[in-house]
Symmetry: C2
Subunit: 122 residues, 2 copies
DNA sequence: ATTTAATGTAATAACTTCTAACATATTATG
DNA sequence: CATAATATGTTAGAAGTTATTACATTAAAT
């Protein structure tokens, strides 16, 4: 399920959309970024562009805050989570996976646009 | 597979994103709309907002044009397709489906925002 | 009583999109 | 061939959206 991951990490949503999807204000969303909890990409005009993964993170932050955690605690959670992932990333990448990745890279030279992009369902 | 359909029909992408994703100009994208081939929603500020389904349609239009079809032909294709769907929509909705829909409606009172929305993966 | 944390608000600049109109290039048709 | 139609380009001005920065405010912690 590689394409799904791709989809979910495409940065295509402007902050206004994120506001609607999360019921947060722009101020809040930017503040969480300021605190290192999200890192949206920027388009050529310096506008923040969010991915579905970003949305998930933001909704999670919202939940934690609703539960009474403060930003500092949430930062700890994410730091810990990142370390846990480190202990997986290196192990996960082997054999079949490596072949798959190589193959994907070869197939995707030229970027998102060939006709196949359509059938990727985005 | 109801949530996926929901996701795919959420109108959250501004035209700039659609341009990047399709390699088309704003002029082209608006022209296809003018010709009745796509119907993006509008946000409160009258900006077009596209869904993933819209993107698929637009990419399909692009393909047809590349293959040498003109807009008129493409319009016919979509008209025919719409009629075919009519002969399914009424048949498809039965039994299990109906129960599922009812249940979904009950669970979703209040809209997109409750905590569950996060776990819906958007 | 203060400080800190999270969010609100305001101002200004820059970016993005909208509509409408006219231009152009390519294809179709008499 | 000449003309009409199709698809797209370009431009201009208005309006919507987002960015940054700074100051204000409310609630919680010390």
């Amino acid at each position: 399920m590689k394409e799904k991951d791709l989809r979910r990490s495409l940065s295509v949503l402007p902050i206004g959309t994120v506001m609607k999807l999360t019921s947060l204000t722009a101020r809040q969303i930017r503040y969480y970024e300021e605190q290192g909890l999200v890192s949206p990409e920027r388009n050529d005009g310096n506008r923040r562009m969010y991915s579905l993964n970003d949305i998930d993170v933001i909704l999670e932050i919202k939940d934690y805050l609703d539960e009474g955690l403060n930003i500092a605690k949430i930062q700890e959670i994410y730091k810990k989570r990142k370390e846990d992932n480190k202990n997986n990333d290196t192990k996960e990448l082997t054999d079949q996976e490596a072949r798959k990745i190589l193959s994907d890279e070869l197939l995707n030279i030229g970027g998102l646009n060939s006709h196949d992009a359509a059938n990727n369902s985005f």
